[in-house]
C-alpha cells in the first residue's frame, strides 16, 4: 500500500504534475473570490486530482514525443472531447427547458454515415460533411417535434434516441465497419500545435457557442425562455424558432463527437459508440451549474463538468475498477458535486460537521 503510494508520488511529483495542481488551486481560489458557481465542479476536480496524485501511477505525467504532448492529462482531454461536445449542445438545449436524449445515438449515426460514405468512395471531407449534415437534420427533427408539435422534449428525444440507433445499425448492416484513411484517423488521433486535434475541435465549437450566447441576443432569449416561457413569448421572443435551432445545434455537436469517436477506433461501431453518453452530457451540464429547470446556463461550467466526469472515468480505470461496476462510484461522486452546488445542502453538511452537536456541552449550574 505504502509502497504503491510512493511509486505514484514519485511519478506524479514532477514539474508538470505540481503545476497542474497549483493551477487548479489558483483557479479555485480565483473563482471563490469572484463568487463564481464554477468553483464547485473545480473543487471536485481538484479532489480527484489530489487523490490520483497519491494513488495513481503516472497520472499527472506529460511527455513530449514527435513534437506532441502525451500522458494521462492529454488522454483525459482527448477522450473527454466527446462528452464535452455533447454537453455543450446539451447545455444550450437544457437552458430552454429542454433535454436531448438522442445525442448518443446521433453520435453513432454520424460516424456510421461518414465511414459508409468513405467506403462508397467519397473523400473524407465529403463523408464527414454528410455525417454532420445528417446529425444536424436529426437535431432539427427533435426541434420540430418539440417546438412545432409541442411534444415533451424528453419524449421526443427518447423516440429519436431509439429510432436513430436503429438507423445507425441499418446503415452499417449491424456490424462494426473499419476504415483506413489518414484524414479520418487524424480527427481522433492527430495532433495540432502539440494538442490532440479533438480538443482543438472542442475549442472551436465551444468558442462558437460562447460567442453566440454572449455576443448575440441568443443567450438572453434562451435564459428568458427557460425562466418564463409565457412571458418571453409575450415580450416578442421567437421562442419556437430558437428552440428549433438549438436542437439542431445539439445534433451538430453530437455529429462532431460521433466523427471523433469513430476516428478514435477507426471504426464505425453502431452498437457501442455513444451508449449512455447522453447521460454523461446531462451530468456534465448539471455539475457545471446549469439547472435542469432551465434559465441561467453556464457553458464554461459545463466544460469543467465534462472534464470532471472524464477524469473520474480514467481514475476508475487506473484503480482497476471493473468497467461493469464503474457507473456506481461515478454516481456517488456526481451526487457529491451536485450537493456541493446547492447552498442549502452545503449548509446542512456544515451543520453535520459542527462538532458541538455530537458532543453536547454539559449544562452547568
Amino acid at each position: 500500500m505504502l509502497e504503491s503510494m510512493n511509486k505514484a508520488l514519485a511519478s506524479n511529483a514532477n514539474p508538470v504534475g505540481i503545476g497542474i495542481l497549483v493551477a487548479t488551486c489558483l483557479g479555485a481560489f480565483y473563482l471563490h473570490k469572484k463568487k463564481h458557481r464554477e468553483l464547485w465542479p473545480l473543487l471536485g476536480l481538484l479532489g480527484l486530482l489530489l487523490f490520483n496524485f497519491f494513488f495513481s501511477n503516472n497520472f499527472l505525467a506529460v511527455e513530449v514525443r514527435d513534437g506532441a504532448f502525451y500522458g494521462t492529462p492529454l488522454n483525459i482531454l482527448n477522450q473527454g472531447s466527446e462528452v464535452m461536445l455533447l454537453a455543450i449542445g446539451m447545455t444550450m438545449v437544457i437552458a430552454v427547458k429542454g433535454i436531448d436524449l438522442s445525442v448518443g445515438s446521433v453520435m453513432a449515426l454520424s460516424g456510421a454515415v461518414c465511414v459508409m460514405a468513405m467506403k462508397d468512395g467519397s473523400s473524407f471531407f465529403v463523408a464527414a460533411l454528410i455525417g454532420l449534415v445528417i446529425a444536424t437534420i436529426v437535431g432539427f427533427v427533435n426541434g420540430a417535434l418539440v417546438s412545432g408539435l409541442n411534444v415533451q422534449p424528453i419524449v421526443a428525444t427518447l423516440i429519436t434516441m431509439v429510432a436513430i440507433r436503429g438507423v445507425a445499425q441499418l446503415v452499417t448492416g449491424s456490424n462494426p465497419v473499419a476504415h483506413n484513411d489518414a484524414a479520418f484517423e487524424f480527427i481522433g488521433n492527430g495532433h495540432f500545435l502539440g494538442l490532440p486535434f479533438s480538443i482543438v475541435l472542442v475549442g472551436l465549437v465551444f468558442t462558437v457557442a460562447a460567442l453566440l450566447a454572449r455576443k448575440t441576443p441568443l443567450g438572453l432569449f434562451m435564459e428568458s425562455i427557460g425562466d418564463n416561457e409565457r412571458a418571453s413569448r409575450l415580450a416578442g421572443v421567437p421562442n419556437r424558432s430558437i428552440k428549433f435551432w438549438l436542437y439542431g445545434f445539439s445534433g451538430f455537436c453530437a455529429g462532431v463527437a460521433g466523427l471523433i469517436a469513430a476516428s478514435y477506433i477507426t471504426t464505425a461501431d453502431p452498437d457501442r459508440v455513444g451508449r449512455m453518453r447522453e447521460l454523461d452530457a446531462i451530468f456534465a451540464t448539471v455539475i457545471g451549474g446549469t439547472a435542469l429547470t432551465g434559465g441561467r446556463f453556464n457553458l464554461a461550467g459545463t466544460l469543467l463538468g465534462a472534464v470532471l466526469i472524464q477524469t473520474l472515468s480514467i481514475t476508475m480505470y487506473n484503480q482497476n475498477v471493473p468497467s461493469d461496476i464503474e457507473p456506481m462510484p461515478k454516481a456517488i461522486v456526481i451526487l457529491l458535486v451536485c450537493l456541493l452546488l446547492s447552498p442549502e445542502s452545503r449548509k446542512q453538511v456544515l451543520q453535520l460537521l459542527r462538532t458541538d452537536q455530537w458532543f453536547p456541552r454539559k449544562v452547568t449550574g
Partner: protein
C-alpha cells in the same frame, strides 16, 4: 324567517399583509339558495375556505343546525354535512362514475370494495339528481363537462350533505346545461338543503337565488332578499360606489378628450372575434386616446386585450395600425406593428424572474430589433438606468434579479420594458392590481403623460374610478361581448355601472354638446 341551518358569526381571517375577511356574518336557511357575490378579492373564496376547513378562522364561530363546528379540513367539514363543489372538475377521469361518487367512502365487504353496494348507492344519489340515464360503471373522463359537474354534485350529496356549497358551478356550462343544473338545485332546495351559490353571472343569480350576500374588500356589505335588491343596487354594492353620487373629484387625461378626437387614428379593430371566447369587438384608437375596457369579471376584457395583441389571436376580424392593415397571429407581430401589452398575471406572463432588471427591460426591444446583433452593453445600461430613474423603481442596482423587487416595482420595470420600444399603442391589463398606492398614482400619471406624447392606451381595470379617472373613452363589455362605447370626458363611474348592469341609460350626465361633438368626430 326559519332558524338558520348554517350560521357563521364574526368570521375574520388575516394573511401576512392582508386582512382577507373582517368580521363577516353569513347564514343559510334550510331550503334556500343563497348567492354569494363580490368582485375578485372580495373574500368569497376565503369565506368558503373558512366554512369548509381549508383555513381556520382567526376569530368567529360557525354553527350547523345549532351545533358549533370547527372543521379542520374539507373532509372534516363533509362529515358535519357541509359539502363543496369546486369550480374545477375534481374527478378522476379513468375511474367509473360510481367509483368517483363513492371515492373515499367505498362500502367494503371482507376488506374488499363491495362494487354491488357501491353502484347501488351511486345510482340512488344520481336518481336524486334526475340522472337515471347515466350508467354508473362508465368512466368519467368521456362525459361532457356538464355531466361531470353533476357527478361532482352527486359526490357532494352522498355524505348526507345539509349544506351544499357551489363555487362558480356554471362557468364552464352552456345555457341549456345551466338550466338543467338550476332544475336540480331547485329540487334539492325543495328537499330542504341549504345551498350556497357563488357566481359572477348576474342573470343566474336572479334566476335561482332567494337571498344574496355581497362582500367587498373582505367585509360584509349586506344580505338582501333577491326581490329587494335590483341589479343596479347589487352592482353598486359589489363595486362600492353609489350610482346616485355625482360630481367628479378628479380630472386626469380624461378631461382632454375632446381635443384628442381630431387626432389621426392609430389603431382600428374591426369585428375581432375569437369564437367561444370573446367578440366581436370593434373600436378605434386615436393618438393620445386612453380607452378603458370596463365590465365585470369574466366579461371578456382581458380576452379582448389578448386578442388584440395576438397572445390568443382573433380568428376573424381585421386590425389596422396607422391605417395599414396588419396581420397579428402572435405577440411578435403585434410588437412589430407598434403594440405593447402588459399582461394581467405579472408573475406568470410578465417578469422573467431570475433575469436582472436590465435584461427584463431590454428584452422586448431586443426581440423586436434583431436576433443577431446584441444591443451594446453600454446602451443596455443607459436604457435600464433611464427607466429605473424615470419610473422611480426602487432597487439597489440594475443587475438585481427582478424577482427580488416588490410587486409595484416589478410592474414599473415591465412598463419600462414596453416604453423602451416606444410603442404606438400600450395595452395595460390591470396595471395597478396588487401594488401600493404610491406606485399606483405614478402609473396613472405616466398614462396621462404618454397620452400627451401621443401614445394611445387601452386600460383594463376592475376599479371603475380608475377607468373614469384616466380614460377619455370607455368600452363597456358584458358577457364576453361589447355592449357600447361611452365618451369618457364627462363620465361618472355610475354611468358606466348602469351600462354594466344592463340598464340602457342615457347620457343625462353628458352635456349634450360634448356628446354631439364626439358623435360627429366618430363619423368623420
Amino acid at each position: 324567517m326559519t332558524e338558520p341551518l348554517l350560521l357563521a358569526r364574526g368570521l375574520s381571517k388575516s394573511f401576512p399583509g392582508v386582512k382577507a375577511l373582517a368580521n363577516v356574518t353569513f347564514d343559510v336557511a334550510p331550503g334556500e339558495i343563497h348567492a354569494l357575490m363580490g368582485e375578485n378579492g372580495a373574500g368569497k373564496s376565503t369565506l368558503i375556505k373558512l366554512l369548509t376547513g381549508v383555513y381556520q378562522p382567526d376569530s368567529g364561530e360557525v354553527t350547523l343546525a345549532g351545533r358549533a363546528i370547527a372543521p379542520k379540513n374539507p373532509r372534516d367539514a363533509e362529515s358535519f354535512g357541509l359539502s363543496t363543489v369546486y369550480q374545477e372538475i375534481n374527478l378522476i377521469p379513468h375511474l367509473s362514475i360510481g367509483e368517483n361518487i363513492m371515492l373515499g367512502r367505498q362500502p367494503t365487504r371482507f376488506g374488499l370494495i363491495d362494487y354491488k353496494a357501491l353502484n347501488l348507492r351511486a345510482k340512488a344519489v344520481l336518481a336524486r339528481l334526475d340522472l337515471h340515464h347515466l350508467n354508473v360503471t362508465d368512466s368519467v373522463g368521456s362525459l361532457p363537462a356538464a355531466v361531470q359537474q353533476m357527478v361532482q354534485i352527486a359526490r357532494a350529496l352522498v355524505v348526507d350533505a345539509k349544506v351544499l356549497i357551489l363555487d362558480e358551478p356554471t362557468s364552464s356550462l352552456d345555457e341549456g346545461e345551466v338550466q338543467r343544473l338550476f332544475k336540480v338545485l331547485k329540487r334539492l332546495r325543495s328537499e330542504g338543503l341549504g345551498i350556497v351559490f357563488v357566481t359572477h353571472f348576474l342573470d343566474q343569480v336572479y334566476e335561482v337565488s332567494d337571498r344574496i350576500t355581497v362582500l367587498r374588500n373582505g367585509e360584509l356589505v349586506g344580505c338582501y332578499t333577491a326581490e329587494e335588491l335590483p341589479r343596479l343596487r347589487l352592482i353598486e354594492a359589489m363595486l362600492g360606489r353609489s350610482v346616485t353620487a355625482s360630481g367628479r373629484e378628479n380630472g386626469g387625461a380624461a378631461t382632454e378628450s375632446s381635443q384628442v378626437n381630431d387626432q389621426p387614428s392609430v389603431l382600428s379593430a374591426q369585428a375581432l372575434h375569437r369564437p367561444g371566447v370573446v367578440g366581436p369587438i370593434s373600436f378605434e384608437l386615436r393618438r393620445g386616446d386612453v380607452l378603458g375596457l370596463a365590465g365585470l369579471l369574466g366579461s371578456g376584457r382581458s380576452e379582448t386585450a389578448r386578442m388584440l395583441f395576438g397572445a390568443d389571436p382573433a380568428e376573424t376580424g381585421t386590425i389596422y395600425v396607422d391605417q395599414v392593415r396588419v396581420n397579428i397571429r402572435a405577440p411578435k407581430d403585434a410588437i412589430r406593428a407598434g403594440l405593447a401589452f402588459s399582461a394581467e398575471e405579472r408573475k406568470l406572463e410578465g417578469i422573467i424572474p431570475n433575469l436582472s432588471i436590465r435584461e427584463n427591460i431590454i428584452l422586448a426591444l431586443q426581440a423586436s430589433k434583431s436576433s443577431v446583433r446584441l444591443i451594446p452593453r453600454a446602451e443596455q445600461l443607459r436604457l435600464a438606468d433611464h427607466y429605473i430613474k424615470a419610473l422611480k423603481v426602487k432597487t439597489p442596482s440594475a443587475e438585481t434579479p427582478i424577482r427580488l423587487l416588490s410587486g409595484g416595482n416589478q410592474q414599473k420595470v415591465l412598463l419600462g420594458r414596453w416604453l423602451a420600444m416606444q410603442p404606438k399603442v400600450l395595452i395595460l391589463d390591470e396595471p395597478t392590481r396588487g401594488i401600493d398606492i404610491g406606485a399606483k398614482a405614478e402609473i396613472e400619471k405616466l398614462i396621462a403623460e404618454l397620452s400627451k406624447q401621443g401614445v394611445a392606451t387601452v386600460l383594463i381595470s376592475s376599479e371603475l374610478e380608475e377607468i373614469t379617472r384616466n380614460c377619455n373613452r370607455v368600452l363597456v363589455m358584458r358577457d364576453r361581448k361589447q355592449v357600447t362605447e361611452l365618451d369618457g370626458a364627462w363620465l361618472e363611474p355610475s354611468d358606466v355601472m348602469k351600462v354594466i348592469a344592463g340598464q340602457e341609460t342615457h347620457p343625462s350626465a353628458h352635456p349634450p354638446a360634448a356628446a354631439a361633438h364626439s358623435e360627429e368626430a366618430n363619423r368623420a
